[in-house]
């Protein structure tokens, strides 16, 4: 069975700084990567391939850097990538992304599963999977913590707020995975080098008949700023006894713990 995995290129969150004066995130020159949970989705697809055969295709929509970023996913064991590249797709709203992905997926050919992350690293909105399922009119299993394909069916356990549900459905289907589904492999350098040679189809939205300018904006972002955070940042680097004693008297002075 062939699988498609939708992966998103995002900035490495650990490397973002906040501009003091405006409290805005500084996004320039932050290294790009594939979202953490997206990697769990790739891992899940590669494991299905390893046990049951078939091919894994990565599909992604984003800026020009995608050709480089996608190598990480290919190195994890995916076979090929279909990339839709346009500067406007970088940080585009979920509706636009889902529309473009649906068109790209239509080009891929036969597949049994479309896997996505439960949420993207930067936006974590969990919209693209459900929107895509609706656009393609496919069944959707979200928040999967385990999946299995047998006899042309998907069996999955989804982790809901108050219960675990074992569900099944026919293929093709859309699945969004939780990070707990697996531990994503870290590819070896040799895999990363080989990944450069795996087939990549790079398309412009126009190649898919998608006119980004004609897609209505649905959600407008008015502001995106870090909340004020003032912390004392007092460090105690002494031996444990001294440090603990100093900490406790500081906490007591603040009224953060009762006096004993």
């Amino acid at each position: 069975m062939n699988s498609i995995v939708c992966v998103k290129q995002t900035v490495d969150l650990q490397q973002i700084r906040i501009r003091k004066e405006t409290r805005e995130p500084i996004m320039e020159n932050v290294p790009l990567t594939i979202g953490d949970i997206d990697k769990n989705a790739v891992e899940a697809a590669v494991r299905l391939k390893e046990s049951g055969g078939g091919k894994v295709t990565l599909v992604s929509a984003g800026s020009e850097d995608l050709e480089e970023t996608i190598k990480e996913g290919l190195a994890m064991g995916a076979d090929e990538a279909v990339l839709v590249v346009d500067r406007k797709l970088d940080g585009a709203e979920s509706f636009v992304v889902a529309t473009v992905l649906a068109k790209a997926i239509a080009k891929v050919g036969e597949y049994g599963l479309i896997l996505l992350g439960e949420g993207s690293a930067d936006n974590y909105s969990g919209q693209v999977g459900p929107r895509l399922a609706e656009l393609l009119d496919l069944p959707l299993v979200a928040f999967a913590r385990s999946i299995e394909v047998a006899g042309g069916k998907l069996k999955a356990v989804r982790n809901m707020d108050d219960c675990l549900e074992a569900v099944e459905c026919d293929l093709p289907a859309v699945v969004t995975v939780l990070s707990e589904i697996n531990e994503a492999r870290i590819p070896a350098v040799t895999q990363i080098l080989k990944a450069g040679r795996k087939p990549k189809e790079v398309l412009a939205p126009a190649d898919l008949g998608a006119d980004l300018a004609a897609l209505d904006q649905k959600v407008q972002t008015l502001a995106n700023i870090a909340p004020l955070q003032e912390r004392k940042q007092i460090m105690f680097k002494e031996d444990a006894d001294t440090a603990v004693a100093k900490l406790l008297s500081a906490l007591q002075a603040d009224g953060a713990v009762g006096r004993y």
Binding site: D122, L140, Q220, P227, M235, A243
Partner: protein
């Protein structure tokens, strides 16, 4: 603006949305309706009517398709109700099912969607939603410019609407919904925790630095000395299962506002920190003096939690 439709699999969250919906409605003139699916619909519908909702939609013919949760079927039913109610704002509870449903419903309605909303305000005649972005590092303000908005709101964001004199009606809607494609095989309820760490005044948070499940006792000891509860980072809970899920702190877990929180062996990544950002005082214990958490702490001890935690607990006694 058209009317407001409320839907949540969890009624308590639904009542919170009713509270906010009525508030928006009184400013904009929108009427508030609700939809109730699943079991005991009649009784539950009454609960909504008791809280000031004017119309509650329940499934009539075709309700079998809504007995178990299939996002496609639920989206179809809600799309039909949205049209009937002439709603331009659908407010849902941001439970996992709610979140799965929101995107699918929005796509069906050609709507704009905002998930994980933790604030709603009226500003210059438009409704502005706030939610976390960049893993919780920033707070993003968004407004929906499409004709219809589907938003899912985090549980416990608003006060529940108080009970008033009921004065609305319950309407059964007949559906023609495509057969359910996601079949439920088995449901296993989660053991519910009796404590809600979001309410704790003092919190001891453990991270991967704890090293093993046998060390949880160490954190419990300290929590006891401080009169607080124990919570954990995501890997401690979803990967290692050292603590139950209800004790997870952060973007995908609980957002807590304790007076004091002591973090043991937590590195301080943004998805964790958003869960304790509103703590009054943050203490961090970490062996790595360059750990990010020290930038977000009021007090930091560079040291081994195995040594520091028991000493602190002993001093408190």
């Amino acid at each position: 603006m058209g009317q407001i439709l409320i839907f949540s699999e969890n009624d308590n969250t639904g009542f919170e949305l009713v509270g906010k919906g009525l508030e928006i409605g009184s400013a904009t003139g929108a009427a508030v309706a609700a939809a109730v699916f699943g079991t005991d619909v009649a009784d539950r519908a009454n609960e909504y009517l008791n809280r000031g909702v004017k119309k509650v939609y329940i499934p009539g013919a075709g309700k079998e398709a809504l007995e178990t949760f299939d996002a496609a079927a639920y989206a179809e039913a809600l799309a039909q109700i949205t049209a009937k109610a002439e709603a331009t704002l659908v407010m849902m509870g941001c439970t996992r099912r709610g979140k799965e449903l929101a995107g699918r419903l929005a796509e069906k309605l050609g709507a704009g969607c905002v998930n994980d909303v933790n604030g709603v305000r009226l500003e210059d005649g438009r409704i502005v939603y706030s939610r976390y972005a960049l893993g919780g590092m920033t707070v993003c303000s968004q407004t929906v410019v499409a004709p219809v908005a589907v938003v899912s709101v985090m549980p416990a964001t608003f006060e529940q609407a108080p009970k008033v004199m009921p004065g609305g009606d319950c309407v059964a809607v007949d559906f023609s919904i495509k057969p359910v494609r996601v079949r439920l095989v088995e449901r296993q309820a989660k053991t519910t925790e009796s404590v809600d760490i979001a309410e704790a005044k003092t919190l001891v948070c453990v991270g991967m630095g704890l090293g093993g499940v046998e060390k949880v006792a160490l954190a419990e000891e300290l929590a006891k000395a401080l009169g607080g509860e124990v919570g954990g980072s995501k890997p401690v809970i979803t990967d290692q299962k050292w603590l139950p899920e209800a004790r997870m702190i952060g973007l995908s877990g609980k957002k807590c506002k304790p007076q004091l929180t002591v973090c043991l062996g937590v590195s301080g990544q943004v998805q964790f920190m958003v869960g304790i950002r509103e703590a009054k005082t943050i203490v961090a214990v970490n062996t790595d003096e360059n750990a990010t958490i020290f930038q977000y702490a009021d007090y930091g001890i560079v040291g081994d939690l195995n040594e520091v935690a028991p000493k602190l607990a002993a001093l408190l006694k």
